[in-house]
């Protein structure tokens, strides 16, 4: 059946475009328009005075120039990148390990573990954050209790969020706990697709378990690992909710800001929308840079 016949059979030639119109309208209104506006805003002096009606002044790249020379921003960027890479790496390592573990355990145990992981995966982010706050509570938290029971008495009444490094440790535990299930399920599905013959052939050739994993299984699931790893990097780079909530719960925000919370504090809290927009654009550019390869691969899979 040829395409032209298809489209003329039902209504006029503009029917498909008409079907697309509502979706395109919403995306243009709520994504494209603010994006364009954000670019413009980042080129303007848009502070508190403009909030009260003064016209915004064009300043060209001044916001960007100010940012590039601002050592605090570079600190934030360095922290964000480090946080993102550590979290993504830990998540991937744990996720792949658990997925491999699942292929070796008995059927019942596997089912039980999968249900547990599914539960963790399904939890709303805010519920996750509150329960971990409660577990890490200074006075009555179960973590401090366990540690001091285990002989580490210094953890009695220990505050986890004051110190930036310990703040990031808590944030990392939470982010990893939330992200591992997705990695496990995706990688496990990938592992199930690895042909048994190739693994067996390697075994016959005398490859040990680690060698089989490293040289047969990993290359076979490489595409899955790449995609999942990349998604982790993207998600952990834009992390906002976890950091924001933990900051409000007792972290020192100036010492713990990552890009997302920095944009929020600059814009919503301090009213400096020009600079905040510039930082947000910077974050978008970073994301595009990171996802460029992935999107291109998806496009190629999409075909003509």
């Amino acid at each position: 059946m040829t395409q032209s016949v298809r489209s003329t059979r039902l209504g006029g030639p503009f029917l498909p475009q008409g079907l697309l119109a509502p979706a395109i309208g919403v995306l243009a209104l709520a994504l494209a328009y603010p994006l364009g506006r954000q670019v413009l805003m980042s080129l303007q002096e848009y502070g508190l005075a403009q909030q009260f009606g003064e016209p915004a002044e064009w300043v060209g790249l001044a916001n960007y120039r100010a940012l590039v020379t601002d050592s605090y921003l570079w600190g934030v960027v360095a922290r964000s990148v480090a946080f993102c890479l550590v979290n993504a790496a830990v998540t991937m390592a744990l996720g792949v390990a658990v997925a491999v573990l699942l292929t070796t355990v008995s059927k019942v145990v596997r089912l039980i573990t999968q249900i547990g992981l599914l539960l963790a995966w399904a939890m709303p982010v805010l519920a996750v954050l509150t329960v971990w706050q409660w577990m890490f509570d200074t006075q009555y938290g179960v973590v401090n209790w366990l540690l001091s029971q285990g002989g580490l008495v210094q953890f009695q009444g220990h505050s986890w969020l004051i110190e930036p490094l310990s703040f990031y440790l808590v944030a990392t535990i939470i982010v990893v706990w939330m992200s591992v299930p997705f990695v496990v399920f995706t990688v496990y599905a990938g592992l199930m697709q690895v042909p048994a013959e190739t693994v067996e052939a390697a075994q016959i050739d005398g490859a040990g378990a680690w060698q089989r994993f490293r040289h047969v299984v990993v290359p076979a699931i490489r595409p899955v690992l790449l995609v999942v790893g990349l998604l982790q990097v993207i998600w952990d780079l834009r992390v906002f909710t976890q950091i924001y909530v933990l900051q409000e719960a007792g972290g020192v925000s100036r010492e713990t800001n990552l890009i997302g919370t920095y944009v929020y504090r600059l814009g919503i809290a301090e009213g400096d929308f020009g600079t905040a927009s510039a930082v947000a654009i910077f974050m978008l550019a970073l994301t595009v840079l990171l996802t460029f390869g992935y999107v291109r691969r998806m496009l190629r899979a999409e075909g003509p």
Binding site: L20, L35, R37, T104, G260
Partner: protein, 301 residues
Amino acid sequence: MSQTTKVAPTPSAALPPSAPPMRRRRPRRGRQAGLDLLALLVFACAVFPVYWMVSSSFLPGNKIRATEPTLFPAPGTLENYRRVFTEGSFTSSLTVSLSVTALTIVVALVFAFLAALAVSRFRFTGRKQFVLAVLVIQMIPAEGLFISQYKMLEGWNLLNTVTGLTLVYVAGVLPFTIWTLRGFVDGVPIELEEAAMTDGCSRPRAFFTITFPLLAPGLVATGIFGFIQAWNEFTLALVVMTRPENQTLPVWLRTFTDVNRGTDWGGIMAGSTLIAVPVVVFFLIVQGRLASGLVSGAVKG
């Protein structure tokens, strides 16, 4: 918006199609027991926070503020839940959350369904560009755009309104919804419709009597996905709904935690449990189906 519940279009084209699964090698008995034990440890780590949330929500205040934590809430109390419902603004936040979520689902589903139909059943100029745009838009982090969306809604007097928040939510879930629904529409062979048309059905009738019922599971699955996204979303809700009386449940939970820190963890856990229950239930229902929808959505060209 895919930050809260991490589901994303995985290009499963990457996987080799239908090869026999890797056979599980049976290790010796002792080692097997060790591996099983390790897996159960993973289970415990995954489940403990969830258990702790539910368990604490049934504890009376004196058990919460005790030097020894209570591991099992017996005898439990519903007092925490009563407080959540009667004190503070839980019910008004529930109303806001329900309205925004319902509106988002309905609008996103209708718009995405029409768009999916267009790209799946028609060939036209701009089709490919649209699919590409949807793909690229999915990569835009909400965290990189909320400043501008805030200014936009402020300019239109839509801050603190259900309409305003719904608008940005619909835009957030639409790309993924279109992408997934397209997979479902592609999954219904056009030959079915054509057969009905040969039997004398008009094309719209053939579509609505033959194809549409087959799409129902896909619509349910994507609808639930939209529910989870909108119900859990925090960043935009925090930015758009600035007044306490307009907060959605996640933002309410945060402020509730702020006010009660150190005094009412039981109440906070009851609130968390109430927010989590619908999501967990829906998530478990839809999990498998969503995965297969993702797969078909990603493979079809």
